[in-house]
């Protein structure tokens, strides 16, 4: 052992280096997230700006504009900008420092989204921010910055009092895009994918009036609908988990019911999970949302394509919500979530029973009198799932299987004589021959 050479047998304490490397943030952390969710993270920052600027959540006139080109990425908003003090002490820190001023019901949470997105996108960025009082920008060449392991600082440049005509907001420009990003941005279908994704992830922000546009085309809020009729009511469970640390609570709203958007592959079936209005899980059909978890709910099967479940978790303190930093997964270690999953299973059960009762005949639902489409947001109070009695309609049977055994040599001879490729075909052809000759006349 190395220490034995010194001759001293006294136990010592030595320093082990544990501080992070820049490489960890630039190359490692970015592997945990895909491109589109990382862009959604940047939209989260704008949305939090909107909440800060308009605590009454009247977002009229606020917009987030995204521009994607093979050689650059831009995102800009008029949502209030980043105060220089916040920028100096918090916004550019890796991770959220203790003492970060709280923003009630925020969707930014981990202090990682913006930096991770910038590194994910490219090697050069510039963040311009204007508040009502100050303007400044932060500009870095990531490669150059990464070479000096000692200096972790960014420079705030051009700091000066805001001119009278400035619109408070933040504009981010990323250049020297990473090759895979550049390739994605060049693909013609990428923009549509991004817009569809933002439509569901930011469903709540869009519904509340924030405009999000990609290359000047506004993203349309995707309405979350359920079927309802006088006899068909979704199941709703509303409760608060309290008390949690810091005397805070989490408001939970669970809704289960039926919907059929005409999607043949049932890709939309399953559970949707939201944290402070931000969707973290879409159309989930796994044990995470209680499918096949214990015996209460079966494993997902395409016959359940009508099933829709929505779980909304809201809290003033976003750190109490069951999400992970990528906001594309729920945190299954969260006690709030584990408790909710049991309730989700219980609330899903009568819907599963109903779907089982109509068997595969899902089209029956469309014949329900006065069937309407109701947005999920309109169900705010607990209620039991109720559904009409729909017996499965028996389709009149028109075909029957005939089977019998014959000698192989006779079968082979008949097969050759009638020109069939296999016994099955031979059976059909011989039957058809007899039928045409003797029965149909």
């Amino acid at each position: 052992m190395a220490g034995s050479e010194s001759g001293s047998s006294e136990p010592r304490t030595e320093i082990i280096r544990a501080r992070p490397t820049k490489e960890f943030f630039i190359s490692t952390l970015v592997r945990d997230i895909e491109l589109i969710p990382s862009i959604a993270d940047l939209v989260d920052n704008s949305f939090d700006g909107a909440i800060r600027t308009r605590p009454d959540r009247n977002f009229a006139g606020l917009r987030v504009s995204i521009e994607i080109r093979p050689d650059h990425f831009k995102i800009g908003d008029n949502c209030g900008g980043i105060d220089p003090d916040i920028a100096r002490n918090y916004a550019f820190c890796f991770g959220r420092p203790k003492g970060t001023p709280p923003l009630p019901h925020s969707v930014g949470q981990f202090g990682v989204g913006m930096k991770r997105a910038l590194f994910k996108l490219g090697n050069w960025f510039r963040v311009d921010s204007s508040t009502s009082q100050w303007v400044y920008f932060v500009e870095e060449d990531v490669k150059a910055w990464s070479e000096d392991e000692e200096n972790w600082n960014f420079s705030m440049k051009g700091l000066r009092p805001a001119p009278g005509d400035v619109t408070p907001g933040t504009n981010i420009l990323v250049k020297e895009l990473n090759p895979s990003v550049s390739q994605d941005f060049a693909r013609i279908e990428f923009k549509k994918r991004l817009m569809e994704d933002l439509a569901t992830r930011h469903h709540e922000a869009l519904r509340e009036g924030l405009v999000i546009e990609v290359d000047t085309i506004p993203v349309q809020s995707k309405v979350l609908d359920l079927f309802a009729s006088p006899r068909l009511r979704p199941g709703v469970r509303v409760y608060d988990v309290t008390p949690l640390p810091k005397g805070k609570s989490v408001h939970v709203r669970l809704v289960t019911g039926l919907f059929d958007g005409g999607d043949q592959n049932a890709a939309d079936a399953g559970w949707y999970v939201f944290c402070n209005g931000r969707m973290v899980l879409a159309a989930d059909k796994s044990t995470t949302t209680a499918w096949g978890f214990g015996g209460t709910i079966p494993r997902y099967h395409p016959q359940y394509s009508l099933f829709r479940g929505y779980a909304f978790f809201d809290s003033e303190d976003s750190s109490l919500l069951p999400w992970r930093t990528t906001k594309t997964e729920v945190d299954e270690d969260s006690l709030v979530y584990r408790g909710a999953r049991d309730e989700m299973a219980i609330l899903a059960r009568p819907v599963i029973d109903f779907i089982n009762s109509i068997k595969e005949d899902t089209s029956q639902i469309h014949e329900e009198p006065d069937l309407g489409i109701v947005p999920v947001d309109s169900f705010a109070a607990s209620q039991t799932f109720t559904a009409p009695d729909m017996a499965p309609r028996k389709k009149p049977k028109t075909e029957v299987t005939v089977s019998y055994q014959v000698l192989i040599r006779e079968a082979d001879a008949a097969l050759e004589a009638i020109g069939a490729r296999n016994y099955r075909e031979m059976g059909k052809k011989t039957f058809r021959y007899y039928y045409e000759a003797e029965v149909r006349r």
Binding site: R237, D342, I346, L347, R349, D353
Partner: protein, 320 residues
């Protein structure tokens, strides 16, 4: 593995003496709760067997008039319907795991006896979880499972059989094939898993406005062996206002011989005695000592009988 045969197809439920004693003890203890609970107003939820022994006893002895029988084997529907002893029993052809979430817990005070004859598995655990999440103050829950290591198959294959039932993650790290094979070790493991599941679920139960936090107050813990080793755990969900309820109803160490609130269990013995011996022992019970009056009856059999003589069935061959 051999196909699962329900225990009622192997032996008449009524002729299993320890099971018979267990049923009577459960009824006796629940009857003691009557003055506090008003058991007549309860709904009983039980599992299907064409003998309906538990349903018959609970209706006759406790006058429970609203009963739900859960039967998962759709092929048995006609037979189950035919054998229904009373018309206050609603037969539902559905597994318990699927029914319990839709049971009307908030309007019906409920006693559920999940009287399984299979080994503990994730499905039974999820039933316990649902009951513990949905229960109301004073819901009564009893669960019975097979805890016989022989039901896990051959030595050497038992741990993997257990992992199939409970999931790999559901089996504690210190459980080995040899350990589950030890007499009573599987029952001890199942007891821990059952009580852990109930405790865990009820502690995270969502409370309605005005509802107080509940806990599971166990008062029954049986083991018995008619053929397989069976384990039963029973208790009631109470809130802080009910702290003295069991004691006040005479369910305590002092008042009930088989009161078992923890991992110590009451073994229901099955003494092997002739009718003449049974009657003779009755005549020298309960006071004083039996020594010197045993007439050749083995002492251990006599001692076993002393524990259950008030409940022990006297079967006779009868022609109807």
């Amino acid at each position: 593995m051999s196909p699962h045969i329900p225990s009622y197809e192997k032996i008449d439920y009524n002729l299993r003496p320890a099971k018979n004693v267990e049923r009577k003890m459960i009824v006796e203890s629940v009857r003691r709760l009557d003055r506090a609970l008003g058991i007549r107003s309860y709904t009983y939820v039980g599992l299907g067997s064409p003998y309906y022994s538990d349903f018959t006893l609970l209706h006759r002895r406790l006058h429970i008039g609203d009963m739900v029988c859960l039967e998962r084997e759709e092929d048995d529907e006609e037979r189950m319907k035919f054998n229904k002893p009373f018309n206050c029993i609603e037969l539902k052809m559905v597994p318990a795991a699927a029914y319990l979430p839709v049971h009307e817990w908030s309007t019906k005070p409920t006693m559920a006896w999940l009287d399984h004859d299979s080994l503990l598995d994730t499905e039974i655990l999820s039933e316990l979880r649902t009951v513990s999440k949905c229960c109301k103050r004073r819901t009564i829950l009893v669960v019975t499972v097979n805890a016989d290591p022989r039901a896990l198959g051959h030595v050497g294959q038992r741990l993997s059989a257990l992992e199939r039932l409970l999931g790999r993650a559901g089996v504690p790290a210190d459980v080995t094939d040899g350990r589950v094979s030890g007499e009573n070790n599987l029952a001890a493991l199942f007891y821990d898993l059952i009580t852990q599941e109930i405790r865990d679920a009820v502690s995270s139960k969502v409370l309605e406005p005005g509802e107080k936090g509940l806990h599971f107050e166990q008062f029954l813990h049986f083991r018995y062996r008619d053929s397989s080793l069976m384990l039963t755990v029973g208790g009631i969900f109470l809130d802080e206002d009910d702290r003295d309820l069991l004691e006040n109803c005479g369910i305590s160490q002092r008042d009930l011989d088989y009161f078992r609130p923890s991992k110590e269990w009451f073994e229901i013995p099955v003494p092997k005695l002739t009718f003449r011996e049974l009657r003779h022992l009755d005549s020298i019970l309960p006071r004083g000592t039996m020594a010197g009056a045993l007439r050749g009856i083995p002492e251990d059999q006599a001692d076993a009988y002393r524990l259950v003589y008030r409940y022990f069935p006297g079967f006779v061959d009868a022609e109807f």
